[in-house]
């Protein structure tokens, strides 16, 4: 059944493209390329040659703003300045504009370094490798560890398991929730360029930011110079404005945008020289915690080498073979993974989600028997030795609470096809247990939602909002909220932290806020993988996680 579904999906995709693409029709057999069956949310153009993130509205705004400002500048200011000052001004302006647009387009239309999802076989293999032995009559089921620790140049790095891509994310990689892909050396998802910024397009992004800063300053200076030159002929400033209103518009646009661009350029210059990503900087991955020395293992040694390596080093080829042909083998390999994933619309990441965890935490704090609290939530990331799972603690069973689950409710979601079949990851199977633990399939989520509704009925809480919300829940959110809101005496969230760690968390939070103020980055970062340790106790950060 699952395979059938997969093929249907494939066929639908290929039908659409077949009608638009003439070159494909030329061939006798209709060719399906891999981008047509791609599992992320990216959009592809020109038969897979170009790719970008789903919502590209802000990207079009960026292009529009840059083009508008530059056009006004070239038509009005440049003409005057070329006649009265020097011909070099339009030449420099033109070169800067071309460079900026070229880097912008390259950033947003190329592959940021997406790591392909595991095939069914690889996922099964990995699952087998990390399996832990459970005693048969143990009351709780112990899921396999979802983190793995590796040594990178002597520094312990925790690799997290990605439940969507079914791989242990390589160091520095992170999952972008907007594009639904793991991206290598993930920096952030930039809505302004309409793409993730990762290993493959960071240099383009950096050059775009820097050249845009130059362009903005240059245009601003030229526009102001134009206005001043007009007033030189013994005329009032108001007359100058009247004579050349476009210069005023250009100057105003540049004046307001130049500050954030300069700030961002400075920030990314700092990141480049220290060979960090925005993600790592905000999480404070390489700041020393609990007296443990921590350093950046990816640094090349000195500032110059870091810059060279990031901006001019070798370019890794794209791992997703977008234009490759879909063979039957390939189709088989990915077919099951397609149906495993419910296609959630992006809208679900919006405001609705915020209600979910709050409702749940009320519930959780009232029934402490269900959720096993751990003090591990305060463990630092790099300092841990071999603790297994922090955020994905086994929490499966609620023996105290007998759930009266009515038949109609339990069948409410049974119509969802082929969601419970996932042979690999369905390690919490329940008939009458409450899995707050990571539910790997859509149906699990839905069923647990139903069960939670019943609990809520018992505690007389309004259930209306909860009906659909838990679908979009992530475990991390729930647990972090729980640890914030519950008042367990043995939790000692604050007491466990050293002074330095508190400072770190404050620092990261303030950086986060700074970035949030200047850019649109808050929607962009991979927030669900933020460190519990660095941000978990901060209420601001807790909110951010939920967003």
């Amino acid at each position: 059944m699952t395979v059938d579904l997969g093929y249907q999906l494939v066929d639908l995709c290929s039908l659409q493209s077949g009608s638009t693409d003439t070159s494909v029709e030329m061939a006798q057999e209709r060719i399906t390329r891999k981008w047509e069956v791609f599992q992320g949310r990216n959009r592809f153009y020109c038969n897979g040659r170009l790719m970008t993130a789903p919502n590209s509205g802000v990207f079009l705004l960026t292009v529009f703003l840059i083009t508008l400002t530059s056009t006004l500048f070239f038509i009005f200011d440049c003409k005057y300045l070329a006649e009265n000052v020097t011909i070099a001004i339009p030449i420099i302006g033109g070169l800067l504009f071309l460079f900026t647009m070229s880097s912008l387009l390259r950033t947003s239309l190329s592959d940021p370094g997406i790591i392909p999802r595991a095939t069914t076989e690889e996922a099964a293999y990995v699952e087998k490798q990390i399996e832990v032995t459970n005693s048969a009559n143990s009351p709780t089921y112990r899921p396999p560890p979802r983190t793995k620790e590796v040594l990178v140049k002597g520094q312990t790095i925790k690799l997290k398991y990605c439940f969507t891509c079914k791989i242990f994310r390589p160091p520095r990689a992170s999952h972008c929730s907007l594009c639904d892909n793991c991206v290598d050396r993930f920096d952030h998802h930039c809505p302004w360029v309409g793409n993730c910024v990762g290993r493959r397009n960071y240099r383009f992004f950096y050059m775009f930011i820097v050249s845009l800063a130059f362009l903005a300053v240059f245009i601003f200076a030229c526009a102001v110079a134009h206005l001043i030159l007009i007033t030189k002929d013994n005329r009032q400033f108001l007359d100058a404005i009247k004579e050349s209103p476009p210069s005023v518009i250009v100057a105003i646009i540049c004046f307001f945008s130049v500050w954030s661009i300069l700030g961002l350029a400075g920030f990314h210059t700092y990141l480049t020289t220290s060979n960090q990503t925005t993600n790592e900087d905000i999480k404070g991955s390489f700041t020393s915690k609990r007296g443990q020395e921590s350093f950046n293992p990816y640094s090349q040694g000195n500032i110059c080498l870091n810059c060279f390596h990031i901006l001019c080093g070798p370019v890794t080829p794209s791992l997703i073979d977008r234009r490759g042909l879909v063979t039957d083998n390939y189709r088989f390999e990915i077919s099951r993974t397609i149906t495993n994933e419910p296609t959630l619309q992006l809208k679900n990441y919006g405001l609705q989600m915020q209600n979910g965890p709050q409702q749940l935490t009320m519930n959780a704090s009232e029934m402490p028997g269900i959720y096993r609290q751990t003090t591990e939530t305060t463990e630092s990331n790099a300092g841990s030795v071999t603790h297994l799972v922090t955020s994905e603690q086994p929490l499966a069973i609620a023996p105290a609470v007998q759930l009266q689950r009515s038949l109609e409710d339990s069948q409410q979601y049974k119509s969802q096809p082929s969601l419970n079949h996932s042979p690999v990851y369905n390690n919490i199977v329940t008939s009458n247990q409450v899995p707050l633990g990571k539910s790997h399939s859509y149906a699990d989520n839905l069923n647990s939602a139903v069960e939670k509704q019943h609990e809520l009925k018992e505690t007389a809480v309004n259930i209306e909002d909860l009906h659909l919300d838990p679908v979009t829940l992530r475990e991390n959110h729930i647990l972090s909220s729980i640890s914030e809101n519950t008042k367990f005496p043995d939790l000692k969230l604050d007491n466990d932290l050293t002074l330095q760690e508190k400072e770190n968390s404050l620092l990261s939070a303030s950086r986060l806020r700074l970035l949030q103020d200047t850019t649109m980055i808050e929607s962009a970062l991979d927030l669900d993988s933020l460190d519990d340790s660095s941000l978990g106790t901060n209420s601001q950060a807790g909110l951010m996680k939920v967003v």
Binding site: Y141, D184, G313
Partner: protein, 142 residues
């Protein structure tokens, strides 16, 4: 409980596998020297007592690693290439292939003539590079 699921998954796999007699082993990445592409040379347990010899697997993986090391090596010429690309506003990438791509093409070409590689039963469809986190090795049970 875990056993139950494990069995379930295995059963499901063999039913739907195209080639059930194939054993696939996924060689994991070795991150000890950073994020360069490098595969572990540790011999996977699943291959014990099979046709593949420990040494031949090791040589093959080492050769693979050396190719990737060559491709990702930060030399003067790659830096110059990067600078040149930057100066041309990255338009040069449209018409010229990078050092990395050249090396990976030679890797693909060499692999077809590589006896070790064929002994491992690696089909040409599967590219170690195509997987971000691990490489794939197939063994045909014989």
């Amino acid at each position: 409980m875990s056993n139950h699921h494990n069995n379930g998954s295995r059963a499901g796999e063999t039913e739907q596998m195209a080639q059930p007699q194939c054993l696939k082993v996924f060689i994991q990445r070795d991150y000890s020297e950073g994020t360069l592409v490098k595969f572990q040379t540790r011999f996977p347990q699943e291959l014990e007592g099979r046709v593949i010899r420990k040494t031949s697997l090791e040589t093959t993986i080492n050769r693979l690693n050396s190719y990737f090391a060559e491709a990702e090596k930060a030399t003067c010429s790659t830096y110059c290439e990067g600078c040149l690309a930057c100066l041309t506003a990255y338009l040069i990438y449209i018409c010229k292939e990078t050092h990395y791509e050249k090396v990976s093409t030679t890797l693909t070409n060499n692999r077809e003539n590589d006896t070790d590689w064929q002994m491992l039963g690696k089909t040409s469809e599967e590219d170690p590079q195509a997987r971000g986190s691990s490489g794939t090795f197939l063994e045909r049970a014989s």
